[in-house]
């Protein structure tokens, strides 16, 4: 049937289009799993896809066959007299339709069982003994990340970038500060909504080192499109060094320029919303900037973290992310340059 050919052509066309850019977009893909959960789901996906495509093709072929000359009655007597085909045809059709119905019930049952088994396996991939707990709080439009720990000295607060050790299950406990968001890193696991006044949990685990992109998947307002995060999976030792580095307070500004920059930061609205550990800045409404320079992106990874982008972001955030909550402050160049240098020094 034309429908089938049509769809297949389109499919081919799309895959062609995709291969052109196959290098790009691998970091946020359902079919490029990097952990056990996403791996299981991907397997299930291919299984479903194969089975369902088979069904689709069969149905389409049958439909197409009804279009042959024979069925269009061009080579057969018309039905105008009775408007019913001969009884044996009818009986045959009844048998076929019954069989098809039963078959589809069986297939659906198989799909149901496999899907439930996979679901069960997913929920069993947990490390109850010494879980590594990361609390993710969705906010319009960024992610607050909090490495939970019984020892308050070991609690780390950062934003928009999660580092996890390879091969260790990590428990994501999520909630929201304002509206409903959804935590989604396709290469690692499916979605989990972050709902105000509720805590939702999800277990993720990365089996190979890499940088995986996640994005808010529940519409959350003006800048829903620019609310992404990076998950960096590293070998345990590398993770340890990163973690310890992040625990340290920010380095005191060495040079005069950096001191000036810090002063600018403290004297402007920045200080009301941002925190920099080791200074008097302790705002909680916006990302913690203690080790800002070590992060990959700014504005919830809307832009790569370069001094140029940072300058553009600070002077006019509403251009880059219209509607976001960062204050627009007309800052004169003599103030701006030191501030940028100071922020970029927060390694």
């Amino acid at each position: 049937m034309s429908g089938k050919h049509q769809s297949l052509n389109i499919a081919a066309l799309c895959f062609a289009a995709l291969t052109l850019t196959s290098c790009a977009g691998r970091q946020q893909s359902v079919v490029n799993p990097a952990g056990p959960q996403s791996g299981q789901i991907a397997t299930l996906w291919w299984f479903f896809l194969a089975l369902l495509s088979a069904i689709f093709i069969i149905v389409m072929v049958l439909t197409a066959l009804t279009l042959t000359r024979r069925h269009r009655g061009i080579e057969q007597e018309p039905l105008e007299a009775t408007h019913l085909p001969p009884p044996q045809t009818e009986a045959g059709l009844t048998r076929v339709v019954t069989a098809a119905t039963i078959l589809s019930i069986v297939i659906l049952f198989v799909l149901l069982v496999t899907s439930i088994i996979t679901g069960k396996n997913l929920s069993e991939l947990q490390d109850r003994k010494n879980p590594m707990v990361i609390e993710v709080t969705g906010q319009q439009w960024w992610w607050q990340i909090r490495y939970q720990n019984s020892d308050p000295q070991q609690v780390l607060v950062t934003a928009n970038e999660i580092h996890i050790p390879v091969g260790r299950p990590v428990m994501i406990r999520g909630t929201s500060h304002d509206v409903i968001h959804s935590f989604w890193v396709p290469n690692l696991h499916g979605k989990r909504d972050l709902i105000p006044s509720r805590v939702t949990t999800e277990w993720i685990q990365a089996d190979r080192p890499g940088v995986y992109r996640g994005q808010c998947a529940e519409f959350c307002g003006l800048q829903h499109a620019h609310m992404s995060l990076w998950v960096v999976a590293e070998p345990p030792d590398k993770f340890k060094t990163w973690f310890d580095g992040q625990l340290k307070p920010s380095a005191a500004p060495g040079t005069a320029v950096l001191q000036r920059g810090q002063q600018v930061f403290m004297n402007h609205a920045c200080i009301f919303c941002h925190a920099i550990r080791g200074t008097s800045a302790s705002g909680q409404n916006a990302p913690d900037l203690t080790h800002f320079a070590s992060r990959r992106g700014i504005a919830a990874n809307t832009l790569p973290n370069t001094m140029g982008n940072l300058g553009g972001w600070i002077t006019n955030p509403q251009n880059i992310k219209p509607g976001n909550h960062m204050a627009t402050i007309a800052m004169n160049p003599p103030d701006l340059q030191p501030l940028l240098q100071y922020l970029e020094s927060l390694k």
Binding site: T175, H177, S197, N267, T328, I329
Partner: protein, 175 residues
Amino acid sequence: MRIISGVICCCSLMLISSCQREHRDIRPSPARLAIYGDAAREDLIRPGGPVRPEAIVTNPYNASAYDISEGSRLFDWYNCSGCHAHGGGGIGPPLIKKYWVYGGEPANLFDTIVKGRPNGMPSWGGRIPEYQIWELVAYVRSMNGEQPRSATASRQDIIQTNPQNVLQRPPGVTK
């Protein structure tokens, strides 16, 4: 058919009539980015002081629902609620009232926020841009019903659900 044309007519009428309530000044105009600087701080000799800036005396964001809600967000973020609670007052005077020491008109409120006032009200002029001050003014006035009800939020949705408290809850407890 006649009905359809009628619809089109009133739609075009709507298009012409602008609606202040729904206006969203997402990109504040450069004119409203002014930082008044610490020079604006109140001198203790002349409480009240002259209204600044003389240029604008009516709030540009008056009756704009978006800016009122932005104001209420800033009211929390800049911790105004620390002293004024949610209008009820505490360390600072209540903001839901009829008599204002330094005047309750938009221009007076603007002035108060820019310069600060004796006995604790800090000067914000040096810190936050003009447009945010006007948003705060709009919100403070809405507390006293001096903004159209249709532009004011009926209530704050999730004031008491602080994520940290939520996350501290032992599993299973829902409230």
